[in-house]
């Protein structure tokens, strides 16, 4: 049997009936040798290594170095590798740049595709029916719900990742951050700003 943690018996916790089903599936797959314990552990480690902090690092470096920004926008996987990340995935990884003229918003209406190989799991709201249905049709209203409104005259561009590309937003560097180092800058870059429902703020 697997040796990573399980929900303990008798907690009295209400949980989904699918909890027992996926446990059952795991147990059976291991017993039949369809999967091995090391393969399961590798898979866990894969997800644990990925989080929005990776995206924040990419953005912070690009804010500080023009060459890196250029790389991030032209070959994002190479940029990720340069910072020690493992972006391998059959899908392309493309970063789209916010400018004073353009603000980008990412959605996957068909299923919730997200650049998991870099950022890990998407937030719940990103996967919700309401976000998936409204982000394409009323992106500005959706962003308002996150407390963000682009300035007058800024074009909003929605990217629906319908196929083999995963998108991440490269937000603009907030003013007043001139003295900050890489770590301080990275802290400003929220997961929400990488999707485009918000922007980094001091």
């Amino acid at each position: 049997m697997s040796n990573h943690s399980h929900e303990e018996a008798g907690t009295g916790r209400t949980t989904s009936p699918y909890a027992a089903r996926i446990r059952a599936i795991e147990a059976l797959l291991l017993e039949k040798g369809v999967l091995t314990e090391p393969e399961v552990q590798d898979s866990i480690a894969y997800m644990e290594a990925r989080s929005p902090a990776n995206g924040a690092k990419l953005v912070a470096r690009a804010w500080m170095e023009e060459d890196f920004e250029e790389l991030l926008l032209s070959d994002a996987k190479s940029a990720a590798r340069q910072l020690g990340m493992d972006p391998e995935h059959p899908a392309e990884f493309v970063v789209v740049k916010n400018t004073p003229e353009v603000h980008n918003l990412i959605v996957c209406t068909l299923c919730s595709c997200y650049p998991r190989a870099i950022l890990g799991r998407p937030p719940d709201w990103y996967k919700s029916f309401n976000y998936r249905s409204r982000a394409v049709r009323e992106p500005r209203a959706v962003m308002r719900e996150f407390g963000f409104e682009p300035p007058e005259g800024v074009e909003v561009i929605v990217h629906d990742s319908t196929a083999d590309v995963r998108y991440m937003v490269f937000p603009m560097r907030p003013p007043g951050t001139e003295g900050m180092n890489g770590e301080e800058l990275a802290e400003l870059v929220t997961r929400d700003s990488l999707v485009g429902v918000d922007v980094p703020r001091l």
């Binding site: 089903r21 059976l28 399961v40 959605v107 068909l110 249905s133 409204r134």
Partner: protein
């Protein structure tokens, strides 16, 4: 889905439960071995009758199950049996 009417966005984040992490893990491990591709998984999710009634990870588990049964790697019966046993161990009825 895109463009359909929708309500306010719930911006809250629930704590990812262990079983949900496991759903991710199993999908990913099966994917790494070519036993369940992203496209097969998406198709299986889309074909779920209960699509609208299930949560995100519930759909994932249901789709993984559907594919494993379709490919004759596991049977519905043995999953049912083991799930019931697990449910009993957790202090269920």
């Amino acid at each position: 889905m895109g463009g359909s009417p929708g309500g306010p966005i719930d911006t809250g984040q629930h704590e990812v439960e262990d079983w949900e992490r496991l759903a991710d893990t199993i999908s990913s491990a099966l994917g790494a071995k070519g036993l369940q591709t992203t496209d097969e998984h998406r198709r299986a999710i889309e074909s779920l009758e209960e699509y609208r009634d299930l949560s995100y990870y519930e759909r994932w588990v249901a789709a993984t199950e559907k594919l494993l049964v379709e490919k004759e790697i596991l049977t519905r019966g043995e999953i049912d049996e083991r799930a019931a046993e697990i449910g009993r161990r957790w202090g269920g009825p």
